[in-house]
């Protein structure tokens, strides 16, 4: 079987390839940020008026630690009561699973095609 001869890549073309990769990378990182879809924010669902350590649900040992760290019930209020929201939609979950499976299917499929070519050239058939 004739060996595949890759073309020589010129300087400008090399540079262009690098720019493409960098743009894609920066895009993947910053596009979700710009669209404001990034991050899991915590929020306080039921605020407590005039909080004390007891109403914040802190026992003696816990409140002693907060005081040692320099907190008062007022300043610790948001820190203690903020919670994540773990509710999610089944559609979103299924979408994610589908995207991941599609991705792995795609790369394994293409890899297999390329790999067969590598092996047949290397081991000469």
């Amino acid at each position: 079987m004739a060996h595949y001869q890759p073309p020589k890549q010129g300087k400008a073309s090399q540079l262009f390839d690098v720019v493409v990769l960098v743009v894609l990378t920066v895009g993947a990182l910053f596009v979700p940020l710009w669209m404001g879809m990034a991050g899991a924010a915590k929020s306080v669902s039921t605020p407590v008026e005039n909080p004390t350590w007891e109403t914040l649900g802190q026992n003696e040992a816990q409140s002693a630690k907060y005081e040692a760290l320099g907190y008062t019930p007022e300043t610790a209020h948001d820190l203690i009561l903020a919670r994540f929201d773990y509710s999610f939609s089944i559609t979103a979950l299924l979408t994610m699973i589908a995207v991941i499976l599609l991705y792995y299917f795609l790369i394994l499929r293409f890899s297999e095609v390329e790999y067969r070519e590598v092996i047949s050239e290397k081991f000469g058939e």
Partner: protein, 478 residues
Amino acid sequence: MADVDITSQTMDGMGPHGTKVGLLRVLGPAHVWALGVGIVLVGEYMGWNFAVGKGGAYAALIACWFAGILYSCVAMIDSEVTSTVASAGGQYTQAKHIVGPLMAFNVGLYLVFAYTMLEAANAITAGYLFSVVASMTGHADALDQRPFIILVIMFLAWLNYRGVLATLTFNLVITSIAFLAILVLFLSTSGVIGTGIMEHAALFEGHELPYGWIGVLAAMHFGLWYYLGIEGTTQAAEEVRSPARALPFGTLAGIMTLLIAATLTWYVCSGVLPWEFLGDGVNGSVAPLFDTARLSGSNALIWLLGFGTLFATLASANGCINDASRAWFAMGRDKYLPGWFGAVHPKYRTPYRAIIFLVPIALIFALGAPLDQVITFSILSGLLGYTFMPLNIILFRRRWPLETIKRGYEHPFHPVPAITLLTLCGVTFFAVFLGYGTQLVAMIGFYIVVSLWFHFWRYRFVNRGAQFTMPWPKPRGY
């Protein structure tokens, strides 16, 4: 070539394929340990505590141990494969020989992004530490953190540029100090020496599992942070004196060190800091071990853990530059990326162009993106890499059963570790989905686009048969 000494300093790299300048084989098992643990140990000093916020203290401990199992599988699988595929690029080269070129390209990018993002996160943390020290020593205005962030990246890139031996010896020293600092903190606060200040029962009362069991699942997201990066030991493969021995030894010693450090860190911090404070890595405890030292009331411990935190961030950024540049270099050498990057410095024997190129990339992330976003990008790239590993080992054992290639290390109970790893990766994908589903999809979208780009455009520049460089027999089934 009958008397070739593969450990020779003058001969190395000058092999039969026409290499005139190659990487230098100078490292021992201790350097491998320092590279692996050095990258990861910062996760004990900051970041793991987000897992506490995700599900409470017990959830963080469960996540710590399940992530420990995940990484033990990673370390075992990696040790077996890499003891036969000893080459810069690590998992990238493994994928190229075992799964196929497109998988290899993806794995190479996972590595570069996981490490470059982690490097950026470390530089951000180091900048923050300088600002804390500045305000503690009476600096009135807010410190401009940018010059310190840039200095960390520039100095470590320069160190890497100048040679791998000095780089990883530096890592060995500062990583050891950071690890000893955790041991000292544990011994002096737990009651082993002097009176203990641990109050686990009282601090957990009423907050055992604040989110229930879904919180335990969610905690797995940041549970990875206890160990993320240990797989980077394989990047040193082309620079250690005897890879078949040093890589498995350094990697497995590394994961054991980390299991100890992670559990001690959890024990010490959760016994002193209330979970809401500990679990909020932004408004609460940015550096939990340092905060624990503050509450111990001992100035010596505060200084020790302060330096431990700084050293851990430096060691991690340093190892990340080393690993990311090796992966980038290996891909350049094979023309997966422009061949220009496949250059080795004739005097320092480092992949100097890859090192220089990644400096501005790291700076963009360190100066332009928020910390949790950068960390999540890093974790996701890592996670995609761990999902690849079980596929890798299953195909490796199928195409080259044990009797066909001599391995430097054979991992036990195959395929149990592979299946365990795959299952835990699935759980972690779900955990990431709970908080950062959009990034997950954006990120996989990115990998799909670059995969198409590679398959239909970039791959034409790659030599087909010649990229398979291992002296292995033909794989079964082909």
